[in-house]
């Protein structure tokens, strides 16, 4: 499942990300007690997380390591986001469909530490992949999942290095539309996908 994790997610991402001005506002790192302010704060944080992940091509966040990133630590004003606040923010992102918890060993969801960040929704990925198949003339060809994510042809594409789970969800969308079909190998493993192109 996690064979295709992006190499960047494990190490500290680059710091060239242009943070917005709100990032330098100290109260931004404190959970605001006023519910209205908090709602606004939540949406700002989820925007920031999505932007940061997309900028650094991060597919999933592991809270235990991510909490150390400069995303959640503004060293200039020495403020950092608390872990529980961070979890709360991710929870709200999951509710909105911007993220998804990667369930651990089926234990209770509050123990989740890892989340997939959908800086593009699976539907968007599906469109992008379908366009890519069209434009590269790979209709009716059978591609392995690895080829889509890491292949030579996808090198310049936005979905290069895409997380396997996200890719699978995007493909599911295409299958539902009848534009693709999963090919299984003899031992029942998913071996590849065949694209039909849009009629």
């Amino acid at each position: 499942m996690s064979t295709l994790t992006s190499p960047t997610s494990s190490s500290t991402p680059s710091t060239s990300f242009p943070f917005p001005s709100i990032y330098s506002f100290p109260p931004f790192f404190t959970r605001q007690p006023n519910s209205q302010t908090w709602t606004s704060q939540l949406s700002l944080w989820s925007s920031l997380i999505l932007a940061y992940c997309r900028y650094n091509r991060i597919w999933r966040i592991d809270l235990n390591t991510a909490i150390e990133w400069d995303l959640f630590n503004n060293r200039d004003i020495s403020r950092s986001l608390k872990l529980e606040t961070c979890r709360e923010i991710l929870d709200s992102m999951v509710k909105k469909g911007d993220a998804e918890w990667v369930s651990g060993s089926g234990s209770n969801p509050s123990k989740n530490t890892s989340a997939i960040i959908y800086w593009r929704r699976p539907e968007e990925w599906a469109n992008i992949i379908a366009d890519w198949i069209d434009s590269t003339g790979q209709k009716n060809a059978i591609l392995t999942l690895y080829e889509i994510a890491e292949g030579d042809l996808s090198y310049s594409q936005d979905f290069r290095g895409i997380d396997a789970t996200i890719l699978r969800k995007a493909l599911d969308v295409l299958i539902r539309r009848g534009q693709a079909q999963i090919m299984k190998s003899a031992d029942g493993e998913e071996a590849g996908v065949k694209f039909f192109g849009s009629q």
């Binding site: 242009p18 109260p27 404190t30 605001q32 700002l44 932007a51 997309r54």
Partner: protein, 607 residues
């Protein structure tokens, strides 16, 4: 309104008391009658019994319809129990020569009450006064004036004042305050007779401009023995020591002028009287009594208490105390042009003045020493101490080169020492409900807060602080927290300019009623907006301590205000180890179109 005179009210609609006047009883829902006629506009008010007066404060229009009767004017009071729809009443009869002579069936005689006058009448014999001259009743004026009568010591020529409670031929003859020798009784009697004749001749001279005066020329007084022309102020011939005929000194005039000139209302009733005398001859038909109707009970207690006060003649007691403190006032004001006759205030110049000053100094020192003996005596001396402190304050203010700190300390300590008016106690409410007590307490609290306490606390003060400050100012018979709470709850109902407010956390504060929460928070937020940039730098925000310094509120109040502002979404907080800092809320309105900001090109291509 013949017997009632207008009075001043405090901001909290309580009567302004004279120096040394004390509150004794309060009663709600009272109406007043003059004679048998209801006075319109005076039918629903509070009645205060003080040591000097009975004050009526109207509920509906306190500023215009608040009046008082001076207790010394009262001859008798009479109680009528309520019957069916008529509420119980107290009838007050005035010592008016007209009512007792011209209307034979005056209520008091109808009831068989003997013409019992004030004790002074039976003892001090005075010439009969003709009513045509509109003269103040001799009985009463002497009762008021007796304190002003002075006699000259035949040994040392020092002019002494008769003690206010002096009764001719009953009280022992007081010794001279300077040489300690008792004068022969004839000297005192002479002095009494003198005043009596003076008051007649004086009033005559007043009414009739072609003054027949008293045989004293402008040049001076001729001695009957040696014919030496003495200064008209002299009482004894400078050459031969013979008694001189009396001058045309009018004591009642003198007292009136004196009280106005010095603004010292230690003789409030003399003012009232003098103004009332004018109409007496004309309105002779109106019966000389007023009625007070008690619509809400409390009548019996009020009656008893008033009787007690009338018998005790509390105004005289307080007067004698006022006289003791008087010299302090004279000295701070410096010598004023005074008639050289022996008035109530002895002149304080010459050797004698020096002696008096030393004497006074010594008395003050004694006050200071004896006050520290034990707490009880301090309580007793409290009022004297306060006036002493005030005296110091005046002197301090007058003399340059005194450090500001000393002045402030003195001012604050004297403020903390005393209330401007006598303390409100549960007894004052008499038989009435607690409600009267609480509303009176609320009024006094309002006066107390208004006197600068609230200002020094920044306009918002917690109930705990009010409790501590107010009880410290009371000194004795402290109030309970429950009393305070009930009194503060009554602020808004009584229309006082304060209100109690409870924060979300349960912290209760008292603040000015004018300032609502929005205004307070608005001021707070406005200040933070400027402070953030100027003083504290762009990112630092403000803490509760900063706010406390700026607005003078206690830190607890600041935290509550800040949290309320945050609750309203006008501020946001930054919780760090050092404490919570507050910022103007920019999170609430912020919006970041990150896709457009960062991935403009890509997005455009994609869509």
């Amino acid at each position: 309104m013949r017997f009632w005179s207008a009075i001043d009210l405090t901001a909290a609609y309580r009567p302004v008391l004279f120096v040394d006047e004390t509150d004794i009883l309060v009663q709600n829902s009272v109406g007043i009658y003059e004679g048998r006629v209801r006075l319109p506009g005076y039918q629903n008010g509070r009645l205060y019994l003080t040591s000097h007066r009975i004050c009526y404060v109207d509920i509906a229009s306190p500023l215009t319809n608040s009046v008082a009767i001076n207790l010394p004017d009262i001859r008798t009071i009479q109680y009528t129990a309520g019957f069916l729809k008529s509420s119980s009443k107290i009838t007050i009869h005035f010592a008016d020569t007209l009512s007792s002579t011209s209307s034979p069936v005056s209520p008091s005689s109808a009831n068989g009450t003997p013409q019992s006058r004030s004790p002074s009448e039976s003892t001090v014999s005075l010439p009969n006064l003709s009513k045509n001259f509109g003269v103040v009743s001799s009985t009463q004026s002497t009762a008021g004036l007796i304190s002003m009568i002075s006699w000259m010591c035949p040994i040392c020529s020092h002019s002494n004042n008769l003690p206010p409670n002096y009764r001719a031929s009953i009280s022992p003859i007081p010794p001279c305050t300077t040489c300690g020798v008792k004068p022969p009784e004839s000297v005192i009697q002479c002095a009494l007779a003198e005043v009596a004749t003076n008051s007649v001749t004086g009033s005559l001279a007043n009414d009739d401009s072609s003054s027949t005066s008293s045989g004293a020329d402008r040049d001076g007084l001729a001695c009957p023995k040696c014919t030496f022309l003495n200064n008209s102020a002299m009482r004894v011939c400078e050459i031969c020591g013979a008694r001189l005929p009396t001058t045309a000194f009018n004591p009642s005039d003198y007292i009136l002028n004196k009280s106005i000139a010095t603004k010292e209302s230690y003789l409030p009733f003399t003012i009232g009287r003098s103004s009332q005398t004018s109409g007496f001859g004309v309105e002779g038909e109106i019966p000389a009594f007023v009625k007070i109707s008690f619509r809400d009970g409390g009548d019996k207690a009020f009656y008893e208490k008033t009787k007690e006060v009338l018998t005790e003649r509390t105004w005289l007691k307080n007067l004698s105390r006022a006289k003791q403190m008087e010299p302090t006032i004279t000295i701070t004001k410096g010598p004023e042009p005074q008639p050289s006759n022996d008035g109530p205030i002895t002149p304080s110049f010459g050797i004698h003045g020096l002696q008096r000053m030393v004497e006074r100094e010594r008395m003050h020192n004694q006050d200071l020493m004896s006050s520290l003996d034990d707490l009880h005596s301090l309580m007793k001396k409290a009022r004297d101490m306060v006036s002493l402190a005030e005296g110091f304050a005046i002197r301090l203010a007058a003399s340059p080169g005194v450090p500001d700190e000393a002045r402030r300390a003195l001012r604050e300590s004297s403020q903390a020492l005393s209330l401007s008016s006598p303390i409100v106690t549960k007894q004052m409410a008499g038989g009435g409900s607690d409600q009267i007590y609480y509303s009176e307490l609320a009024r006094q609290l309002a006066e107390f807060l208004d006197s600068g306490v609230l200002k020094s606390e920044g306009g918002i003060v917690t109930l705990f602080d009010v409790f501590a400050l107010y009880n410290r100012a009371r000194g004795i018979s402290l109030i309970s927290p429950k009393d305070l709470y009930s009194a503060c709850s009554a602020f808004e109902k009584l229309g006082l300019p304060f209100r109690m407010r409870q924060f979300k956390s349960g912290l209760t504060v008292v603040q000015e009623a004018l300032k609502n929460d929005d205004m307070t928070i608005g001021a707070l937020v406005d200040w933070i907006k400027t402070a953030e940039k100027k003083q504290y730098g762009e990112e630092d925000g403000v803490t509760a301590q900063d706010v406390s310094q700026q607005f003078g509120w206690s830190v607890g109040v600041c935290v509550e205000e800040l949290e309320t502002a945050q609750e309203q979404g006008r501020l946001c907080s930054d919780a760090v180890v050092g404490g919570t800092r507050y910022f103007v809320n920019v999170i609430g309105d912020a919006f970041w179109d990150w896709k457009y900001d960062l991935f403009k090109d890509v997005e455009n291509r994609d869509i």
